[in-house]
């Protein structure tokens, strides 16, 4: 994408028309069965060594997309191709062995680590499942522990004996122990305090560079995404509404929803924050059980016309260099560029 040789190479992860629906009972005493289209046709590529972030608000389908990619959930339809192999065609045994190459880190390290297992046992679990011999496994665990700055002695302790940031390091080691190529990170820092957040972000950056990892990063915090990713896809109600490189999406956004999101995300700088143009969207996102016709965003969009209700916009490049799903795209920079120094001279 940024680099021609890379664009020509086969992507590590290729997702096409991914759909995931969940059955729900609609409201009312004898409500009939309905479907929530959590992911409603999502396509993207992720190249080796890169980070693609899926951003959006609660219920936009970003986590479900990641879970379908790593096959915690089976997609309703669509393809997920990893390293040239369509995961949908694999039987259970083949999928299990393929899975060692794509792993996941979860939001809440408290909930995703078994409280009754020691850290050593937790980290040995994936190795056991994938029949990796004990000596080799122990060596790997030891290396990874030092890579994330935990001590070997920590292997005998239990998750509750660690702080939130340390627990997230353990979650990361667990994901790394099978030497994966891709890690799906589902809100890995949003449960952490800011001073701890920075450490985990730095660690993720370092691991990506040292181990050549690729990240599918799921987050709602647009500042963290700005910092960590090369490519960004913005989701709304199960669909990607805009995607491009980091700078394209942040500085030349063309979708009204992207612009509203960026305008609403606060910047910790009073002079900038108070001089920004606000776009305050009306209302809440509609229910994914019964999404609006045409463009899903039109009920909150200040540009909506009749056409938006009739015809769903397709994700395409309107001649701006990146992809937008809007009938009336207009490039605009809604965040103000500022010098990097955090303490401005008096």
């Amino acid at each position: 994408m940024t680099d021609l040789t890379q664009a020509a190479a086969q992507p590590l992860l290729k997702v096409r028309d991914l759909v995931k629906s969940f059955p729900v009972r609609s409201s009312g005493f004898r409500g009939g069965r309905g479907l929530v289209h959590a992911v409603a046709g999502v396509s993207f590529d992720l190249h080796q060594g890169q980070t693609l972030s899926l951003v959006g608000e609660s219920g936009c389908g970003k986590s479900t997309t990641a879970r379908c990619v790593v096959r915690i959930l089976d997609p309703t339809s669509g393809q997920v191709e990893f390293d040239g192999v369509d995961l949908g065609t694999l039987d259970a045994a083949a999928l299990r062995s393929a899975r060692s190459k794509f792993q996941m880190v979860f939001q809440d390290p408290q909930a995703s680590l078994n409280p009754r297992m020691t850290v050593g046992e937790i980290l040995a679990e994936p190795l056991k499942i994938h029949h990796i011999p004990g000596a080799e496994g122990r060596e790997r665990i030891r290396e990874l522990m030092s890579l994330v700055q935990l001590r070997s002695a920590d292997l005998d302790r239990y998750p509750h004996q660690f702080s939130g940031g340390q627990r997230q390091r353990i979650g990361i080691v667990r994901a790394l122990v099978l030497e994966p190529k891709l890690i799906a990170l589902d809100e890995p820092v949003s449960a952490l305090d800011v001073s701890i957040q920075a450490e985990i972000i730095r660690l993720l950056e370092r691991l990506r560079d040292q181990l050549g990892l690729s990240y599918l990063f799921i987050a709602h915090d647009l500042s963290v995404v700005r910092h960590l990713s090369e490519h960004v896809a913005v989701m709304y109600l199960g669909k990607i509404v805009e995607s491009g490189t980091n700078d394209e999406v942040y500085e030349q956004s063309a979708h009204p929803y992207t612009q509203a999101l960026l305008a609403a995300a606060p910047i910790p700088d009073p002079l900038i924050e108070r001089s920004r143009d606000r776009i305050v969207l009306a209302g809440d996102p509609p229910s994914p059980i019964d999404p609006p016709s045409g463009c899903h965003f039109r009920t909150r969009c200040w540009k909506a016309q009749d056409r938006c209700a009739e015809e769903a916009p397709v994700l395409a490049d309107p001649g701006i260099g990146h992809l937008v799903a809007c009938h009336f795209p207009e490039v605009s920079n809604v965040i103000v560029q500022q010098p990097v120094d955090f303490r401005r001279p008096t």
Partner: protein, 334 residues
């Protein structure tokens, strides 16, 4: 300068736990003047919520509160329950983080707001109460207010529920609104809506607003003055621009340096390193000493008190040299 509405002096909170006490708040002096927006920022466990809950008399029974908090000259610490009840929801409105757990699930939102009015204005006629409820829902920009009054909390979205909470908080025209992480549970576009509602209300009623948050971006946008809390203390305070641009405490500077920002890319984040001290095992000197890059020997022995340095007040022995020393170290690293 406006008159002081709320003043805490040496406010402290201890929680009795098995084998000792957790010192959650350790001598906090905060002033809130009429009509101003005061931000209280800090990370989990810094004591920012406990400070406000203490003066409202809303802490659990195992909490021991000492010091003073006066509202309009009325001492709140140790005040009789009836007196505190009259203030809470009356002259002091409160908004909490999670509207789902703060609202009663089996009463309509209209009924709950009506209750808030009736408790404080018992002689008001039912018709007038309901008219006021509808008016309040309109003030917080809930569409179809007359219909939504009859909705139960679960029928409303998170943003709408938080608007209901705000309507309750302002039902009796409070002089002070205390909002504890009012937007933390909300998505960013909804957060923007709620902050707009709060700002509109505040300027319309000229009430003071205390906003407790971990989000420095929110504070940058709304606060007039800011208190930064760490391990139960205010470690730095000042007008918002002074605090962001001319801060003196290594912790404040460290927080700003470790935040990723929407408007910059490629800047290295500088983690503070370490973790806050345990509140039942506080060090003798400065609570930040183990994480401080510019600590001196005296920082280990003597707990620094807030003092004026430049345009801010800061609890640091090394200030005003602290932040320039940090900058110099950064330059050497680079």
């Amino acid at each position: 300068m406006n008159e002081v509405l709320l003043q805490t002096r040496d406010l402290g909170v201890e929680f009795a736990v098995s084998g000792g006490a957790v010192h959650a708040v350790r001598g906090v002096d905060i002033d809130v003047r009429r009509g101003e927006v005061v931000g209280i920022v800090g990370e989990s466990g810094s004591g920012k919520s406990a400070t406000m809950l203490a003066l409202l008399g809303l802490l659990a029974p195992n909490a021991k509160v000492h010091g003073s908090a006066s509202f309009n000259g009325i001492e709140m610490i140790g005040a009789p329950h009836e007196q505190l009840r009259a203030l809470r929801g009356g002259r002091i409105g409160m908004v909490f983080q999670d509207p789902m757990t703060s609202l009663n699930p089996v009463l309509t939102v209209g009924r709950q707001i009506a209750e808030a009015i009736e408790v404080h204005q018992p002689t008001l006629r039912p018709k007038r109460v309901m008219a006021r409820v509808q008016e309040l829902l309109e003030v917080v920009a809930i569409p179809n207010a007359s219909e939504r009054m009859r909705a139960y909390p679960h029928e409303l979205s998170g943003g709408m529920r938080q608007r209901v909470m705000i309507a309750m908080a302002v039902a009796n025209d409070p002089e002070l609104i205390i909002a504890d992480e009012p937007t933390t549970a909300l998505d960013v576009t909804i957060q923007a809506q709620i902050l707009t509602v709060l700002a509109d209300l505040r300027s319309r009623t000229n009430s003071a607003l205390v906003i407790i948050t971990h989000d420095l971006g929110v504070v940058a946008g709304v606060a007039d003055r800011v208190n930064v809390m760490y391990a139960g203390r205010v470690v730095e305070r000042g007008p918002v621009e002074e605090l962001f641009y001319r801060n003196q405490h290594p912790y404040t500077a460290g927080l700003l340096a470790c935040l990723p920002r929407l408007d910059t890319r490629g800047r290295d984040l500088e983690p503070i390193g370490g973790a806050p001290p345990l509140l039942d095992h506080l060090p003798k000197g400065c609570a930040f000493v183990s994480r401080c890059k510019v600590a001196e020997p005296r920082c280990h022995d003597v707990d620094p008190q807030l003092r004026d340095v430049g345009t801010v007040s800061v609890a640091c022995h090394v200030a005003p040299a602290a932040t320039s020393a940090m900058k110099a170290m950064k330059a050497v690293d680079a």
